[in-house]
């Protein structure tokens, strides 16, 4: 029997965030055809592919565009924690994050020696970032690299012809 030929497609998938009555908590699942492959079985919060591409480069470009659209006027610090611990939102250290804000010309939040924000990061966003122009606000959000709504996931798909 000949093996079925397959091709890799790069899917842009939604990231699942579940509201826990205080903030949105990230669910690290990706789309699983076994779990979510049945017609009509999806719930709104399930991760799901939204568009597919033949190259990772194109998929990443689309993901970035969708990410910007989804961010809109959301506050990133509602996603991942109580708004006091930067490590729940970013892989950058408090120092690196502060330096990045200074380069962007944005007043950074104040962190203590442990990297905890002394005031709410929710408020810092509302006061310092919400009113920025789109490009600058997105540049700040880009530093919060754990708060994403889409991710690129390769999938193997049978190909014929």
């Amino acid at each position: 029997m000949t093996a079925k030929r397959q091709v890799t497609v790069y899917t842009v998938q939604t990231v699942a965030w579940e509201y826990n009555d205080e903030y949105f908590d990230r669910d690290d699942r990706t789309f699983d055809p076994k779990l979510h492959g049945q017609a009509d079985s999806n719930y709104l919060s399930d991760p799901v592919p939204v568009q597919s591409f033949l190259t990772r480069r194109k998929a990443e470009a689309h993901r970035r565009a969708m990410e910007r659209e989804r961010r809109a006027d959301r506050n990133p610090f509602q996603y991942g924690g109580y708004g006091d611990d930067l490590t729940q939102y970013s892989t950058h250290s408090a120092q690196a994050f502060t330096e990045r804000m200074q380069i962007l010309g944005v007043e950074p939040p104040e962190f203590d020696r442990r990297g905890q924000c002394e005031e709410s990061l929710w408020n810092w966003w509302a006061e310092q970032c919400q009113g920025l122009d789109d490009d600058l606000r997105n540049a700040v959000w880009d530093a919060l690299d754990l708060v994403i709504f889409y991710q690129v996931v390769p999938m193997r798909v049978e190909v014929e012809g």
């Binding site: 999806n42 033949l54 012809g161």
Partner: protein, 161 residues
């Protein structure tokens, strides 16, 4: 210069419909027995209602557009066999690119008497389909599918490198 054929694929994708609610019924129509099983909170006397999600799940890729279209048509036809299409969405614009008046005219043109009244509720449309489903001939079934052109379960996307 024309793009080489191997640089593009035609991807059949499953359209994701998310569960959004239930329709209570006194008796589940026989033809909807399978649909009743899709009810994640099954009580035996309710049928699920779905809303179109943003998901497009890769199913199979083809080098040839006609092959992809053929699979899409077959899968879509199979999906339509055991459903009430008015459960896929909650208003005329979810079901059709016609407005309500044009949809009614379309049905009349194909020998189908639409539900009476100026503002017909989603429940009334669903009951109307339940009542007529068994008696529809092939011509009328096709006309309903064409008229409800937004109730689709599969589509083809062209992917290029």
């Amino acid at each position: 210069m024309a793009r080489r054929k191997k640089d593009r694929l035609y991807l059949v994708e499953r359209v994701v419909w998310n569960f959004i609610g239930m329709r209570e019924v006194k008796v589940v129509p026989t033809y909807l027995a399978q649909m009743a099983k899709l009810n994640p909170l099954t009580s035996g006397r309710s049928l699920p209602v779905f809303g179109r999600g943003e998901g497009l799940v890769p199913v199979k890729a083809f080098r040839d557009r006609a092959d992809a279209d053929a699979l899409r048509d077959n899968l879509d036809q199979a999906a339509w066999a055991g459903i009430n299409p008015f459960h896929y969405g909650s208003q005329v614009r979810d079901w059709s690119s016609f407005d309500e008046g044009r949809l009614r005219d379309w049905l009349l043109d194909h020998g189908l008497e639409p539900p009476a009244g100026k503002k017909v509720t989603p429940t009334r449309w669903r009951e109307w389909y339940d009542q007529r489903h068994e008696a529809l001939d092939e011509f009328q079934r096709r006309a309903i599918r064409q008229g409800l052109d937004r109730v689709v379960f599969y589509q083809v996307s062209e992917l290029a490198e």
